[in-house]
Amino acid sequence: MKQKVFNVWQLYVLLLLPLIHLFIFKYYPMYGAMISFKDYSAVEGILGSEWVGLKHFIRFFNSHDFWTIMWNTISLSLYQLIAGTPFPIILALALNYVRNQHFKKTVQMVSYAPHFISVVVMVGIIIQFLSPRSGIVSNIAGLFGYEIGNWMGVPEYFQSIYVWSGIWQNVGFSCIIYLAALSGIDPSLHEAAVVDGASKLRRMWHIDLPGILPIVIILLILNVGNMMEIGFEKALLMQNPLNIRTSEIIDTYVYKVGLISSVANFSYSSAIGLFKNVVNLILLVSVNHLARRAKQTSLW
């Protein structure tokens, strides 16, 4: 055993680097999470502040915003997960059956382009498009004699705008991984299916989909593990006083309560952040467990 380790010591040195990174940037900061159980004051420091137990958690659970914020966060990320998962798969399947390579490459390249637009610019584009006076959406609606109001100000539309603009932006980029998985499928399966007279739709259903299912499940597990964190910047930028009822999610709430309010409350906001991460961990472990029980791929 000792001899084995020593023979490949170079590999262990390589492994050391990511481990050090993990420790410094992921594990060491957890020491600061301690302040969610304390009344943190900058004068006393992290260790010197007084322990208060679960006070901040209880305050959060009892605050009258709690259920609204939880509901906004969970419904937004579920919406994103359910609406966002099928499109990259469909796009990858469709591209996979295009024989004209020029057409395929052009569509792919254009579909990647929005991914590289930064969040701020993206929200600017959304606001510009939906502007009730000069936006292109209201122009098109005007052609048909309709008048649309200010969609950014309608609380009911916030989630749809958020999710569908996200799909527009990321569908091309997320289909890359499925395209890679599709190209890894054994071509002899397809040849056999063609000889047996299977249509393209049948081949998709019986060869391609089972072939990429492991990747789909892994990505789904990872996405569920991130369920409580949805793009903080995008939600914050898309917020306005009119749609705050549906656009206030946990992350924006933490930001407002903990950092920009006049009485910054670090303990309270780190308690909320800790709570969020615990929920994420539970979700990740239970979805992984479900996947393993269903005899599918799982993370561990």
Partner: protein, 87 residues
């Protein structure tokens, strides 16, 4: 070598596939072109909603208002950008 003709269903599939992908292509590309056009158009044309696809009243004003370039013009002391920005 004689190739096997694709069955009718597959040819329908091909057509539908190309149509759907072309539609998708337009949906993704249009906003990108629009934003580039809008940034090169005069702000009146954008605000009044006359910009559809290509820039109108092509001016470098939209870009000229970009603070980075203004700053470049003010700071650098060179007259490189001024021919485009003076109007």
């Amino acid at each position: 070598m004689e190739t096997i003709r694709e069955p009718f269903g597959d040819r329908v599939f091909n057509v539908v596939n190309y149509v759907v992908l072309s539609l998708f292509f337009i949906i993704v590309l249009y906003p990108l072109i629009y934003i580039v056009s809008a940034s090169f158009s005069s702000s009146e044309a954008v605000v009044s909603g006359r910009v559809w696809l290509w820039p109108l009243n092509l001016l470098w004003m939209g870009i000229g208002q970009c603070s980075v370039i203004k700053k470049l013009r003010l700071d650098s002391g060179t007259r490189f950008f001024t021919p485009f920005l003076e109007h």
